[in-house]
Each structure stands twice: as C-alpha cells, then as structure tokens.
Amino acid sequence: MTQTEENSMPMNEPPSSVAQIGIITKYEMRNYITARRFYLLLGIALAFSALFTFLIGHYGLPIGGGALGFYFEWWGGSAKYIIVFGAIVFGGDAISGEFQNKTGYFLVGNPIRRSSIYIGKYLAAVIASLIITGIYAVIMLLNEFYYYGTSIQWQFDQSFVFTLVFLISAMGLTFLFSSAFKTISYSILGAVVLFVGFDIIESLDSAFVHIEPWFLLTYGSEIVSDIFISPYPVHSTISDTGHILTTQMTMTTYNPTVPEGLAIMLAYFAVTSVLGLIIFARKEFN
C-alpha cells in the first residue's frame, strides 16, 4: 500500500443486499416498537387470551374432545384472526406509507435495491406478528397444562406450523395491496375487504355454486383448525338446508386436505410476493 492510499479516507462500500435486508428488518422492528404499533397488536392478542381464559374459567371447558377440543376451540377458532390483524396492522401501510408519508424519500435515494427494502420490511412484519402469535400460543398452552396437564399434542405442533404458513401468505397479500396503492387508507381497506370478502365468497359458493374454493386463501387456512378434528374431516359434505319457495336448497361444505391447504397458502405467498416486489420496483416516487 502506498503512503497516499494509507492516508486516504476509506471509501464506504455498501454491504451486500442480503445484509441490507437485515438492516431494514432491524430498523423496521425498532419502528414498530417505538411507534407502539407492536403493543397495539400485543394488546389485541392479550385481550383475546384474557377473554378465552375468563370464558373457560367461568363457563367451563368445551364439552368433549379433551385437549384436542380445547385446541380446536381456542387456537383453531382465533389464531387466524390474530394473523389477519397482524397482517393488516404491520403490512397494511408498510409500502403505501413510504409513498404517502414520504418516508420512502429518505431511503430510496441511497445505494440499496428496492427489493431489499421490500423484503426487509416484510420480514420485520412477519417477525413482529410471529412474536405476538408465539405469546398467544404460550398463554393458550399454559391454560391447556392447567386444565389437562398433558404434553403438547402433535396436532398442535402441526397447526402452529400451518399458522406460520398462513402468516407468511396473509402478510404477502397485505404487502401486495400496500404496494399497489399509494394511499394508506386504500391499502388497508383493500386488505380488510379482501379478508372479509373471502369468507363471504366461501359462504355463497357453499350455498349456490358448489365448487371447491381452492382459490381462496382463507379456505386453505382451514387446515389450522381442521387438524384438531379426529378423524380428519372428509373432503366435502352436502347437507339439506330446506326449501326456499319451491327450490330445494343444499349446502356443500368443503374441507381442504393438509397438502391442499398448504399448497393454496404457499401459492398465495409466492404469487403475492413476486407481484408485490415487481409493483414496488416499478413504482415511482412522484
């Protein structure tokens, strides 16, 4: 090394894109915590936990089913809502907020790929939701130990994994919405309408159309609760719901198999992630 080189100021080389993803994730997590957003969702999860703990303590355990019935009622009935809340709270404005609030101007002009920003923010949202989902699971398991004194059933292990798959796909979907809109309210509203819309579409399909709703994310996520039913529910059942005027009405209830549910959720994750990344990479800060 020459004397001149020794004396010169070292030039900054931006870290690898993978390292930059980690940096964005770290600071986004910090933003969630300092902006109290994290505590909002934690509060919702704790309120759900307190409600279930109170209801079980006051009205008793679910009749029949043992620990599996307990899991079905508590985890199967509510974990998906925690995930949906998390996706909306952390993911709803993750990208649209960068445009509307102009915080993106602070980041984008730096030597960092937009994909690193997107993935870093996505990971932060998933990790924050995961921490809260984990706390929610621990509270439920403490209740389960108290009432049943049993070890964790394998069905819960599987359901927890399915919940995580639902988390990454639901977050991918809200990030796609957030990427597609430049206005926070539209992106959040879009995500809320979509999740509510999924349930409505599934009900209408069940009553009138009678085709398996494999195209709905929430249908795929039903394996989170179905795994607690023993034996595992059959793929479809048709029930008579009576007459409307002279028309005989039937309801077809579909239940995804485990591979089917996983495939639907993973497909949502893959498609929404790719689309969200492409849209964000092409979006302009006008």
């Binding site: 900054n12 870290p15 915080t103 602070f106 730096n110 800060f285």
Partner: protein, 314 residues
Amino acid sequence: MKDLSIQAVNLTKKYGSFTAVDNLNLKIEGSKCVGFLGPNGAGKTTTLKIFTDMIFASSGSALINGVPVHSNKKEALKHCGSLIETPEIYPSFTPRVALSMIAEIRGIAASERKKRIEEAVSEVKMQEWMDKKVGKFSKGMKQRIDIASALLSEPDIVLLDEPTSGLDPRGSAEVRDIVKSLKKKDRLIFMSSHLLPEVSEVCDEVAVIDHGKLLVHDTLTNVTSKFSGGGSYTVVEVGFSRPVDNTNAISSIQSVISVEKIDSRNLRIKFSGGLQTQENLVSQLESMNLGMISLRAASSALEDSYLNLIKDTQ
C-alpha cells in the same frame, strides 16, 4: 483530482402526453458546484429524481461516474448523497437512529459510525436534538437532518433539490456555507434552486432548463456575459434618510458601474461582483455618512440572464 461526473444522455421523461424532461443531454465533470435553474415545472426535480432512481426515464439514461443509475443503482449511488424534496423520517425515530440506519445501509464502518453521525448532525447545527423524536420537528429541522443524511457518508457527488427550502435565513446561510465547504473538499455538487443570489454565491456553473429542455450550461461568468447584456453585475436599491445630492463619491467606489437616482432619497446602484463586493460597498456607503437606512437587491446579472433565457422559451 477524482473523476467525478454526472451525465444525462438523451434523457426523456413523459407522463402521458406531457413531456417533463425532453431529450436532456448534460454532462458535468470534476469537482465544482453547478446550479440547476428553471421555473416551476421545468423538469429540475424530475431530473434529480431520475438520477436517484426515484422515478424512471421514459428513454435515455442517467449516469453517475459513468454507471447507469437505473440498471446498477447500488454501484451508481454508492458515492452519491442526495436530498430530494424534504424526505420524512419515521416520527418515532431520533436523528441518531435514523442516521444510524443510513450509515449502516451505506456501509460506514461500525467504528466510525458514531463519529460520523455526530459530525454530520453538528454540521447542520442539530446536536441538541440528536436524541429527540423527529415527529416533533419543524420542516426546517427535518430538512437539516435530511442534509446531514445526504452528507453522512462523505459522498463525492451531492445532488441537492432546493436545499434551503423550508429553512429560515440563518439556516439558509448555514447550508450555503456547507455547500462552500463541500467545494473545498473537491466534491461535485449539482443543486437546483429558485434563489438566484444563492446560486451566484455558491455555484461555479449553471444549467438552465425550461419545458424539460436544457437552455444553457456554462460557467456563471459566461452565462451572465452572454445573456444579461453586460457582464457579471448586481443591482441594489439603497434608501437614505436625507436627500443625496451628489452621487459622484458613490460612483467612484471601486466596482460600482453606475448610479441612478430613483428619487432624492433612493438610488439604484449597479456594481460588478458578488456578496463580498456588496459587503464592501455597504461599508463604504456607511463610512460616507449619507444616512443610509436600507439596501435591497433589485436584480443581478444572473437574474437578468435567467429572465432573458426563460422569456425566449415562453
């Protein structure tokens, strides 16, 4: 001398039928400060946004140190700091946290990070606010932190979009001093501004754009001598508390080109030179004990040049 350059090659940006930047060809090389001038909607910010990959060219390319910004952003921007409009920072962040994030993204070594952040914040006179949440800051305070962010990695090239916008007069003067100090450090500064005295004071060259087209890019001296109709000068209007009968003494002050009476107590003085000359002129007028009570800039050679250039494109 480092090989610094920013270059627009046939750069065009269209929004539907509206052309914001129209086949712009501009090359700026070496360490200097170039003022980027033009009326509102001329395409200044659009051009700077293309250079920072915030928006994308419809055709043509923007190069920094010969590297295309859009296709190789990380490489192109690694030695380039920028301030485009007034970026917002997460309200829950303090300047220290926000700048730490930028320092890490830019690869400033952990051992240097604290020192660099403190130096950058000190340069924009925000030390007292280092650990306060940005959400409580005024626009001017945020602008100072944004400037600190642009300078944090000690970039060779600095792109500034109206850097004194939102700042009070003292803040504006401090930013001008920062730009001057960057020039001394052999940096290339490309700065858009509406404030022509500011450009006259700190820039070596000017590029004037209107309707997305480059009208002229040359040294300040060449532009003013070509387009103002008479070299580099400034015109000030000076008010006195009592009538000034004899203007010969004022005319004899070095650098004064002409003295014109507006009325018995107000004179229009044309002189060659910039702010330093103006400071000398004020001192001499005061020493003459004529009862000088006011002085305001009426126009400058750059202003006249600018108006002549823009007028031709209307």
